[in-house]
């Protein structure tokens, strides 16, 4: 610890000297390896942000490589194994980036993070990301995983009211189905949605984050009743035909398409789908969409909550020093600071940087969405907390099995608890 602080102080000092003497003339080139898909509607802000940065800092040259999906990690693992990684790269504050975090390849940003800087942001993003309280990323947005989108036009046409409880929503099923429509569109073909978009929120409703903290440590167990009950709610949603038949064969975008085509009254999806809805829906339909919290579930102890995690962000190579480190910080503090967040907001993503929303021309759905997430508490997203193998290999497929009726909720909870007890790194921490 002591050595590290000294080193950081020395590096800072050196960088200040270097920057003040040479910053204005020399060009610094930074390589950036980013998990980004520029074709996505929610990425539309990014080229604008980069342009704005280049205007302000013409001496910093950025060399991008964009990769999307799982392939990003595969290649990054190979790079990490060779010991040579780019100057800046996408990093998750959690297990998904352990292959670089555990190797000490990511720079701790704390030397730059003054209280004055930190107070501009939603405090949730400053919870420790490393074993010694390190902060590796400035998360630009919260990934809110559960939002129920409502087609209010259809709702009115069918004479339905806004459901307050899950039971009310289920009670609407016959009327919706009688009109030949799907009650709640949802797709779980890729297996992780039933866990990230649904079970995470249900677990929070049934047990709260305090229980989850205990379950991670092992003082509570995934065989506890609230967790089993949370799984059982998913089964109930299938049995009552609230969720569409064959939900495990539907891709998430297909569920969104159903909703856009006016074939479903409700859509269960993530918060980041707002921009996708806006891009694909007819404007007059889009104007009639609403965003609400998942309705109240019988037996819940937390009310109105969703589940969220801090979104991934670019992080800095720990080897950077001097002018390069300073240039990298300039970049990060620009894109995640006031200027970058302003652009993000204009493109419809709510940043973690505190902005005066009244200054922005926000469409109705986005306005509702902002109000919603600012008014609800956020539970954990299970796959952001627990080891990937247990979640992807056991819990996600297990949820599908429960929904298809080949496993009971208690059985799945038992299998998952057994795996976690034996293997999960959370339980091994002392």
């Amino acid at each position: 610890m002591h050595m590290r602080k000294l080193a950081i102080a020395a590096a800072l000092f050196a960088s200040i000297v270097l920057v003040s003497s040479a910053a204005s003339t020399d060009t610094v080139t930074l390589s950036v390896y980013a998990q980004f898909d520029l074709a996505q509607p929610q990425s539309a802000y990014w080229p604008v942000t980069v342009d704005a940065f280049q205007k302000k800092y013409p001496n910093i040259k950025l060399d991008f490589e964009y990769v999307s999906g799982e392939a990003f990690h595969q290649k990054f693992q190979a790079m990490a194994a060779s010991g040579d990684i780019p100057d800046l790269f996408t990093c998750y504050a959690g297990a998904r980036s352990s292959y670089i975090l555990d190797r000490g390849m990511v720079k701790d940003l704390r030397p730059w993070l003054t209280d004055a800087f930190k107070k501009n942001y939603n405090a949730a993003i400053w919870s420790p990301q490393g074993p010694n309280g390190e902060i590796y990323i400035i998360s630009p947005n919260m990934a809110v995983c559960t939002v129920v989108y409502v087609n209010t036009k259809l709702q009115k046409k069918l004479g339905l009211s806004m459901p307050k409880t899950l039971d009310e929503m289920i009670a609407q099923v016959p009327a919706i189905r009688a009109a030949g429509l799907t009650p709640l569109a949802f797709g779980n073909k890729s297996q992780w949605q039933a866990q990230s978009f649904l079970l995470s929120m249900l677990t929070d409703r049934m047990a709260g984050t305090a229980w989850f903290d205990k379950a991670m440590k092992g003082t509570a167990k995934f065989t506890d009743k609230p967790f089993v009950d949370a799984i059982a709610v998913e089964k109930q949603m299938i049995d009552t035909k609230l969720l569409p038949a064959g939900v495990n064969q539907i891709e998430t975008p297909q569920a969104m398409e159903e909703f856009i085509q006016g074939k479903a009254v409700y859509l269960l999806d993530a918060g980041w789908r707002v921009s996708g809805l806006k891009k694909a829906a007819a404007p007059e339909d889009y104007a009639g969409y609403a965003a609400i919290a998942f309705p109240a579930v019988k037996g819940e102890v937390v009310h109105g909550s969703s589940a969220a995690t801090t979104g991934e962000a670019l992080a800095m190579n720990s080897k950077l020093t001097g002018a390069k480190a300073e240039a990298a910080w300039n970049f990060l503090s620009f894109i995640y600071g006031q200027e970058g967040s302003d652009i993000l907001m204009k493109y419809g993503t709510v940043p973690t940087y505190k902005l005066d929303y009244s200054k922005y021309d926000i469409d109705s759905l986005n306005k509702q969405y902002i109000q919603l997430i600012n008014s609800q508490s956020m539970g954990y997203v299970i796959d952001a907390k627990m080891d990937g193998e247990g979640v992807n290999n056991l819990l996600n497929p297990g949820l599908q099995a429960v929904m298809m009726g080949t496993k009971t909720p208690a059985q799945l909870a038992g299998e998952y608890e057994a795996w976690v007890a034996a293997n999960d790194s959370n339980r091994k921490k002392k």
């Binding site: 390589s31 390896y33 998990q35 898909d37 520029l38 074709a39 996505q40 509607p41 929610q42 991008f64 490589e65 964009y66 990769v67 999307s68 999906g69 392939a71 595969q74 290649k75 693992q77 190979a78 790079m79 194994a81 060779s82 040579d84 780019p86 998430t252 975008p253 969104m256 398409e257 856009i260 085509q261 993530a270 980041w272 789908r273 921009s275 996708g276 891009k279 694909a280 829906a281 007819a282």
Partner: protein
Amino acid sequence: MEKTSKLIAAPVAWRAVAYVLMIAFVVLTIFPLFWLGYSSLKPHAEIIQHPMALPRSPSFDNYVNAWTEGKLDLAMMNSFIYTTVATVSTLFLALAASFGVTKFPYKSRKFFIGAFSLGLMITMHAVIVPLFLVEVKLHLVNTRIGVIIPFIAFNLPMSILIGVSYVRGIPDAIIESAEIDGAKYRWIFWRIIFPLCTPVVATIVILAFLQHWNEFLFVFVFTTKAAMKSLPVAITQFAGRLNFEYGLQYASLVIGILPMIIFYIIFHAQLIKGFGEGSLKE
């Protein structure tokens, strides 16, 4: 063409079955291609709202956007370089090795055939990390040669096996008579074996070209600069993680398939250029 027309025609029952099979294949193949083709002419929102409908006002915007945003011109050129160099190299290396292990009387040839066959069993994902480390050490990362060598290596086993099965069938007498005439083996290979192998050369070239053209993993992992990307890698950038931009994706997929189709149409004639047309008349 002419040689087969001399053949007595097949019975009607066989011809009927042949038509049924062929048409079944054609229907199953034309439909997806047709759908892909016309969908690529629709904007994203229209694809989502009416996935199966024909385009209302067909437009090549997706192609223009994919081509410029995805830098597909550069990727197309890279793909041509990788594929052509790797395919030609694979062909000569494989055919030479096939000739070696079939027409020379050494015991070690069994070992070589066995060793090459082993290569068929290795999945690329299993070797990618160690291979990357080696390439880093040898400074081959981000070079074209660093991509082309693994391309060749992974295609050799299949090409050699196909080559072996064909070259083995060439009568030894042809080679022996040339040997007696005092011909060098290099001469025999180029002047006798190679011309006799036209159909299998076409097979190897078509299959190697196909594999190299579609190869994703090596280019993806071993290169970081946009200037080195091949078509499949560039196209994958349009396949979204959380959302999709279908129009762009379909347009780029069509751009990716077209060269392969054209290549096959050009080359397939060689497949059926018979043995009988060469010097070999039994």
